[in-house]
């Protein structure tokens, strides 16, 4: 009798374990498939020129997307400049005052913001920045990406700070360290790893956004790093090239997709390595 139950338990264990392995495979298959397919379609266009050259005029073959790579970097930089500080400070506030009515409203709106379609954020940036400036610009694009980054960073910061045991806060206060300094120098570093992951996720999301850039940063076929001018980005490059009627361009769109995925992957790995070195709570 005992033996039967023992076998039944082992069988259940094997069953559930197999299911979870199956789940892992289901998650990984699309990733590898996407990587494989984009590489297969785009490999013909991936060469040194692709990274260092400007797009060629219509009708000529070759050329690259140097401006789009730099543009995406600038747009993410602008978005981060806006999104990271605002997100972190808002997160600190929510973690510090978990019960206030204002905190409740902020938390609710943050969650709503997290679910807003990115194209709507693009429209908002268009109305707030593009129309008054009377031109598309990198600033407007960065603003749109920044808004998209805020909710994710806010909520991760809040959650991660809340995971830091209250005893550290009390220890800091008990040493006569002012509250704000306790939060910034003791609590925040202890939550650093998690907050960093949140930032990474939001950067990855921003890097992959196309819709909010279409009517803010617009895209640019020429070299420009001026913040008040339209600027190229990899996603808009992909969008334009994928719908173009030239095989050459389509192949470059595939190549750009592959490069974008790999860049996000590299970013992930860098963040992982950096955060692994820090002490953990």
């Amino acid at each position: 009798m005992n033996n039967f139950y023992f076998k039944w338990r082992k069988l259940k264990n094997t069953l559930v374990f197999s299911l979870s392995i199956f789940g892992v495979i289901l998650v990984l298959v699309p990733l590898f498939f996407i990587l494989y397919y984009t590489l297969k379609q785009g490999i013909g266009a991936i060469n040194w020129d692709f990274f260092t050259q400007m797009p060629k005029p219509v009708g000529e073959t070759g050329g690259g997307m140097a401006n789009a790579i730099v543009g995406t970097g600038i747009l993410i930089g602008l978005g981060s400049l806006m999104g990271i500080p605002i997100g972190i400070f808002a997160g600190i506030y929510l973690a510090d005052k978990p019960k206030g009515a204002f905190a409740f409203v902020v938390r609710f709106l943050t969650d709503v913001m997290n679910g807003i379609p990115s194209i709507v954020v693009g429209v908002v940036a268009y109305i707030l920045i593009v129309i008054p400036m009377k031109r598309f610009s990198a600033l407007a694009g960065g603003f749109a990406l920044g808004i998209l980054m805020i909710p994710l960073i806010t909520r991760t910061t809040e959650e991660m700070i809340r995971l830091v045991p209250n005893s550290f806060r009390e220890a800091g206060l008990g040493l006569g360290i002012p509250r704000w300094k306790t939060t910034l120098s003791i609590i925040l570093p202890a939550a650093f790893k998690g907050i960093f992951t949140g930032i990474l996720l939001s950067v990855a999301r921003a890097a992959g956004e196309t819709a909010p850039l279409l009517f803010t940063a617009l895209g640019n076929r020429f070299w420009s790093v001026q913040l008040d001018q339209p600027i190229a980005s990899m996603t808009v490059f992909i969008y334009d090239y994928a719908k173009a009627p030239f095989n050459d361009w389509n192949q470059q769109a595939w190549a750009a997709s592959f490069v974008l995925i790999v860049l996000v992957l590299i970013l992930n790995i860098i963040f992982r390595v950096v955060t692994r070195k820090s002490y953990t709570a």
Partner: protein, 266 residues
């Protein structure tokens, strides 16, 4: 100094008394509707160890926390007065108060993102002390005073939570010493430690009282009898009896105290 005659329970305890360091007068504490402390009046004297004993929920931790206003962090309010060197602590900035009245917690809580050395001087560094060679000296001084130096002197750069639980607790004591408090509050500092680490903490308390005034909350009556000069027995938010520790444990005046220290309840 505000020399108001306090309740008679104190009178018995002060014959060969050193100078007054802290005093509570009709101290009441509330958590919402919960009346956690009722009219506590007692004196805390220089270079003495005052132990506070009593069953769980008797208000001893609340009392301890109110002495450096840490009760505010958990949503408590108090009525009555607490004096430090004759001044009302409720009129002081809590940041300044907590430098003078330091606290060691039940669970060792070294800062995880700082090294052992950084932990010791965290209170100083974060309050703007920048003199590196002086800070280095303080690290050594305080670790020696906390009887931890010999064990960690070769690993000062390691994370504060990489050492054993007992060592961590002594590190927390060293960290408290670094801000040069007058009074050290200890909230069951050894309750999570093994007997050997506990013995080390107790020896340390014995050493520390030469320079500091100590208030210790403990569940362990043997510990109270070993380390303290005075013992206060709390029950249901009231101060039942305070006296010399030997008297409390050998000839308590109050029946409830006697029942508690002899293990008949609690």
């Amino acid at each position: 100094m505000n020399e108001i005659v306090s309740s008679t329970t104190i009178a018995d305890a002060k014959h060969d008394e050193p100078a007054l360091r802290m005093r509570t007068l009709n101290l009441n504490a509330f958590f919402g509707a919960n009346h956690a402390l009722k009219d506590i009046s007692l004196d805390i004297r220089n270079n003495k160890v005052l132990a506070i004993i009593g069953p769980s929920g008797c208000g001893k931790s609340t009392f301890l926390r109110s002495l450096n206003r840490m009760h505010e962090e958990v949503g408590g309010t108090i009525k009555g007065s607490i004096l430090l060197d004759g001044e009302d602590i409720m009129k002081k900035d809590p940041v300044h108060l907590r430098k003078k009245v330091g606290m060691v917690f039940q669970k060792a809580n070294p800062f995880p993102t700082m090294s052992i050395a950084e932990n010791v001087v965290a209170g100083l560094k974060l309050n703007g002390h920048r003199n590196k060679s002086r800070l280095k000296e303080i690290v050594e001084e305080c670790l020696k005073r906390a009887a931890l130096w010999d064990e960690v002197k070769d690993s000062l750069h390691k994370p504060g939570n990489s050492i054993s639980g007992g060592q961590q607790q002594r590190l927390c004591i060293a960290r408290t010493l670094a801000v040069e408090p007058e009074v050290i509050l200890m909230d069951e500092p050894a309750s999570a430690l093994d007997p050997i680490s506990t013995a080390k903490i107790e020896e340390l308390i014995f050493e520390l009282k030469k320079k500091y005034t100590i208030v210790i909350v403990t569940h362990n009556m043997q510990q109270a009898s070993r380390v303290s000069d005075l013992t206060a027995f709390f029950y249901m938010g009231q101060l039942i009896e305070i006296d010399k520790t030997t008297n409390i444990f050998t000839a308590p005046k109050n029946k409830q105290t006697e029942d508690y220290v002899t293990g008949r309840f609690g």
